[in-house]
């Protein structure tokens, strides 16, 4: 491990901030979703880095479970986006302001 752990952690912090900016600034639900994936990946990078630092496999197992949840979340979320698009003809999150859909 010739690259010290703080470099990986700094990369992950910057990626997380980028994903957060995407969620707050963009209005297309698809791009908001991709930004959420960006944040999940940033957290995964910290898990893998700390697993390596503490020489414990648990961090990598957590990444496995994050992958499972991320896959499920994308499937359900995209299905909801398609359903909203069918009834509202838009994927702009600012247009989705009716609780009854």
């Amino acid at each position: 491990m010739t690259v010290p752990a703080p470099y990986y952690l700094a990369l992950s912090a910057l990626l997380f901030a980028l994903g957060m900016a995407g969620v707050l600034v963009r209005r297309s639900a698809l791009i908001v979703f991709m930004s959420i994936e960006l944040m999940l990946n940033a957290v995964n990078l910290t898990f893998v880095t700390f697993a390596r630092v503490y020489r414990s496999i648990d961090g990598q197992l957590l990444v496995f479970f994050v992958l499972v949840v991320a896959a499920t979340e994308v499937v359900i979320g995209l299905a909801i986006i398609v359903d909203i698009f069918r009834s509202r003809e838009t994927v702009d999150v600012d247009e989705m302001d009716l609780l009854r859909g």
Binding site: V3, L15, L18, L30, E37, L38, L45, R55, L67, L78
Partner: protein, 177 residues
């Protein structure tokens, strides 16, 4: 060698991340996301997590990004956003908040003091990860399969359009119109 590889992947990941949030077309965002995911897979290899790197390529790059591209195609190019100010936070305020938050994260995480030694033999291989998964993490593993099943059923239920029965009660996706 490792440092050069890390520098390349870090630049690719950060430019890809910027591309995801800055691209006009959603399909460009999806491709930038792919760049981030592949760069992170290389980082996982550098961190002795071979199995996770392979999973990253198969699940994220292979399944999730393909699903995104598929949905972008399904919405036939109308997946962008209309011009004009949004209803939420002004973008400048949001960016300032994110810079502050990112700076805080950076200060906390980059201050980590740890001197890692050599990893145990076989660290991060399928064998070691699999052994932990099927012994220590057996119950969460089974729960994960239930989560995946729920996701599959949910996606089918959401995606299915019930035809409006003539004279009968409308299906759930028709009723709300």
């Amino acid at each position: 060698m490792e440092a050069v590889l890390f520098a390349i992947t870090a630049i690719c990941a950060l430019s890809g991340g910027a591309g995801v949030i800055a691209a006009r077309q959603p399909v460009h965002s999806a491709l930038a996301l792919l760049l981030v995911l592949l760069s992170l897979a290389v980082d996982y290899l550098l961190l002795d997590a071979q199995f996770i790197a392979v999973l990253q390529v198969i699940i994220y790059a292979g399944a999730i990004v393909v699903l995104f591209v598929f949905i972008i195609m399904l919405l036939h190019g109308r997946s962008g956003e209309e011009a004009g100010p949004g209803a939420g936070l002004p973008p400048a305020v949001a960016v300032v908040l994110c810079v502050l938050f990112g700076g805080g994260l950076l200060a906390v995480l980059a201050g980590t003091h740890a001197a890692p030694g050599a990893p145990p033999a076989g660290f991060g291989t399928v064998q070691v990860v699999g052994r932990a998964l099927f012994r220590q993490y057996l119950l969460p593993f089974e729960a994960a399969s239930v989560v995946l099943l729920t996701g599959m059923i949910g996606a089918v239920a959401l995606g299915k359009r019930l035809p409006a029965a003539p004279g009968g009660p409308a299906g759930p996706s028709e009723r709300r119109r």
